[in-house]
Symmetry: C5
Subunit: 90 residues, 5 copies
Amino acid sequence: MRLGKVIGTVTATVKDPQIAAKPLLVVDVITAAGKVSEPSVVAVDTVGAGVGDRVIITQGSAARIPQGTATSPIDATIIAVVDTVQTAKT
Amino acid sequence: MRLGKVIGTVTATVKDPQIAAKPLLVVDVITAAGKVSEPSVVAVDTVGAGVGDRVIITQGSAARIPQGTATSPIDATIIAVVDTVQTAKT
Amino acid sequence: MRLGKVIGTVTATVKDPQIAAKPLLVVDVITAAGKVSEPSVVAVDTVGAGVGDRVIITQGSAARIPQGTATSPIDATIIAVVDTVQTAKT
Amino acid sequence: MRLGKVIGTVTATVKDPQIAAKPLLVVDVITAAGKVSEPSVVAVDTVGAGVGDRVIITQGSAARIPQGTATSPIDATIIAVVDTVQTAKT
Amino acid sequence: MRLGKVIGTVTATVKDPQIAAKPLLVVDVITAAGKVSEPSVVAVDTVGAGVGDRVIITQGSAARIPQGTATSPIDATIIAVVDTVQTAKT
């Protein structure tokens, strides 16, 4: 999984019916120190995350394991809102 | 998923029969700010996207979930045409 | 999928029996403009591609969908020989 | 798989129920020489690793093969604590 | 697949039982010209490769297709020892 920061939302009228009811958030993948390592992943939110939240995203087939996602054509899902990241080197 | 910009089309006479009837588009993966982060992904279009459109692509096994793609040897599919990307930092 | 340029061939006497009869080509992943973005992917050829051809490769589990590949331990397959790539920005 | 160094822990109150009981560690992917090649992967620990340990992580669907992980939406798991890495070029 | 060069071995006492009997090698991913493009992948050896050998590795779910690997939590496997790589541009 990856740490991420939710930076925005995406809207789309023309889309696959299997993502029609899913909130799509734009997430910058970040390091434990907060540096962006991979910008602008589009992830489905399954835990009620909002813009500004630090989150955990899962990618690949794992993205379709949370409840309600099994038949959606998605490859990235937010599975947690982070409280704290504690590192030995920070 | 990723944001992308459709920049062109690919034609191929010699190809796997399972992609014969699929429109193949060339998509630059972009950030929310519009910067190209990964050039020239070839994606199957399932939503009627055209050159110049900003889209969402899904990759890996997720690419074979949209209707009509299950038996095709494809790893990237356009699943939405983006209306707006709203970010807190733009 | 990715655009690629076939740059060579690989031979191996000691190998998994499930790839024994498969032609293994070395493919540079390229952009629509022809720039190498990822060098030296080893891909199984299923369409009769040759050195110098511009091709489309598919990666991951998609690589085992073309006929005759289902039980091979492969993660990259050539699924088309490109005729033309037309881009709005070239 | 990848060599990694455990650098910290993540806590999250709001999360997918299928990761509720799993220890989530922050792992820097490293080379055999100890250089960080990919920072801050979040991995589930299945072998009792701790901060400071050098480990092996597996990614993708492989992450859900260790006992107790099959139904969790995870894409990275620690599967070993490294004793030694012996290289010809070190 | 990728070309690789075996540069070393990894030992681990504490590990997932499903990798207990598997030789774990450290492989640098290389280009056809021999340049390291991705250092220190840890791969299971299924063909008797040794340090110094040039090999082909397969990654992702393909890594669990060779005989004896199906239930192991592995994402990279050596499937061939390379005899020759012939390229038009070398």
